[in-house]
Amino acid sequence: MSKDVAVEVRNAVKAFGQGDSAVRALDDVSVDIRKGEFFTLLGPSGCGKTTLLRLIAGFETPSSGQILLDGKDITRDPPNRRPVNTVFQSYALFPHLTVAQNIGFGLEMQGRPKAEIAAVTANMLALVQLGPMAQRKTSQLSGGQQQRVALARALAPRPKVLLLDEPLSALDLKLRKEMQIELKRLQLETGITFIFVTHDQEEALTMSDRIGVMSAGRIRQIGTPRDIYTRPVNRFVASFIGESNFLSGAVETGGVRLSCGDLVEAAGTEGRSGKVTLAVRPEQVRLTRAGEPGALPATITDWVYFGTDTHCHLALSDGTEVVARLQSPATGDAGLEKGKAVALRFAPGAAQVLGD
């Protein structure tokens, strides 16, 4: 394994329950998380992302498989022996301690000298901008402030990896946006590997270096936010992250023959034959005049104004529905009328053949 891998998960399986009623929360998951990266586990609730995080933290042991930290097998190490810290969804701050005592707790348990604990705590308080709150009880803080204390507490012992279990889900929208930026800043400043769990695709796309998309106990795709968004490997990924138009067709030389009879260019046809599904993002669909050569004839069935965009619902000649997201013009309604015959075109490289 290469030197720049922080956490390596090898064929991890986690089953809960016994015999026939056993549920596989994780089903043969393998993933390498690189040093210093912001890695996000993204998936709907119950997909196993939190279980994977708890396996890395040491709160659960895998039914089979291995977890390596810096190349060392830590599969059976208890949480207090792992240089890994967690920011909990509910923060789990110690209610009997002050903000400063909470932040210093990990260092104290490691038996560091008092002077060092005081110095690191002061640095952390400054880093999360909570200096004046040092002597408060955590119950006297707002949700956002508690969140910062939880972050500082987990960062203070300088873990090799920081695990974040949906830490922003309890915050309101505005605060969440602020904390997204804050988290990214902390990650860059400390250089610590972050593994972030969320079900919020926007959070994942804006913050991550790489994303692992999970469903039903498996990792479906790993890649940069751009990869995941523009080149989804299957229908689940394409529909979970952003919106997609799904078109069925068959691979031919030069592209994919859609069910409406037209041939379109598509990425990912290599090595594929027969029936396939194409995914096209709504913002990659362009409208042109009816009869334009090379464009697909379509009829406008409906349109909805969203402010910055207007969503235009279209039907292809065989009735297949396609949504186009168009930038709303400064004035007027861009000539959209129900029942109007138009033609549409996909932006170059926008159509992606999906796997099964």
Binding site: F59, P78, F88, A92, H96
Partner: protein, 302 residues
């Protein structure tokens, strides 16, 4: 209008006091009346056949610590009384410690059961309350006496040849009190542990605390109100225990409660009994003040 509002508030406060007055009067009378009688009696002279003679005397209070020599009338420290005080405090502290040591795991066990079975476990804890205290204590006697269940079994298995002498010792009193007061420790501990956020355990382990450190640095400080409540509920009645030392301690291993009873009965020295009662009250109050202050140190919101 603020003045109008104030007037209304004052009026409703007056109504409140007026409505609670009967209850307050009754409570005040019931709480302070008997106490005042005991206080007054402690400064009177004992009658020949019990009761008191209305003549001021400090002999009752003096009798707590001193005995008067029959021949030359000099005062000597009453060793026997001091032994009884010391035994009462020691046994009560030990009872509190034992009920905590047994009650904490029990309360933890119950609090971590699924919500459905929790009610059943709590119900089981309260079952001993259904039986009269005397009956329960006599049952303990039956278990630990020389020809009792434990000794019969041990002799039958051949582990010992002579019965273990437990009954009528301090150990017997301790066993009995720990058994009788255990539920009073478990219930407040359960209430505190039930509110404890189990996520904090994970947070503790995650931040490099060992199991022992998690217990000492996270669990115990947070459930401290429950520990304080349980300890008070056990310590206070232990100090004044009467039935248990009487049945399990025999005549010799008296505690303050038995000593007081003796003054009002065979001793025919009501003023001394009254003074002893007041002393017990003072010991309990001082102990509670110390305990509560120690428990609250370093936790301004506890």
């Amino acid at each position: 209008m603020p003045s109008n509002e104030n007037r209304q508030r004052a009026a409703s406060a007056r109504t409140g006091w007026a409505l609670s007055a009967p209850a307050l009067l009754l409570l005040g009378f019931a709480a302070s009346g008997p106490l005042l009688i005991v206080l007054v009696y402690s400064f009177l002279t004992p009658g020949d056949y019990g009761n008191v003679v209305w003549k001021f005397s400090l002999d009752g209070w003096r009798g707590i610590l001193f005995t008067r020599d029959i021949f030359d009338g000099t005062l000597h420290l009453a060793d026997a009384n001091l032994t009884i005080f010391w035994r009462s405090v020691k046994l009560s502290l030990l009872t509190t410690a034992i009920t905590f040591a047994v009650g904490f795991p029990t309360a933890w066990f119950i609090a971590t059961r699924p919500a459905k079975s929790r009610a059943l476990w709590l119900f089981l804890i309260t079952i001993p309350f259904w039986t009269n205290l005397l009956i329960r204590t006599v049952a303990i006697n039956e278990v630990i006496r020389n020809e009792g269940i434990i000794n019969t079994l041990l002799i039958w298995t051949g582990l010992i040849t002579e019965p273990l002498r437990i009954i009528y010792t301090d150990t017997a009193v301790l066993i009995g009190m720990a058994y009788v007061y255990l539920p009073l420790m478990v219930l407040p501990l359960f209430a505190a542990i039930d509110r404890f956020d189990m996520k904090l355990l994970e947070a503790g382990y995650d931040l490099y605390a060992s199991r022992w450190q998690v217990l000492r640095r996270v669990i115990l400080p947070i459930v401290k109100p429950g520990i304080v409540a349980g300890s008070i509920l056990v310590f206070v009645p232990s100090l004044g225990a009467y039935v248990t030392p009487r049945v399990l301690g025999g005549g010799k291993n008296m505690m303050i409660g038995n000593f007081i009873e003796l003054q009002f009965g065979a001793g025919r020295n009501w003023p001394l009994g009254a003074a002893l009662s007041m002393t017990l009250l003072i010991i309990v109050t001082v102990a509670l003040l110390f305990y509560v202050r120690a428990a609250n140190r370093g936790s301004p919101h506890g």
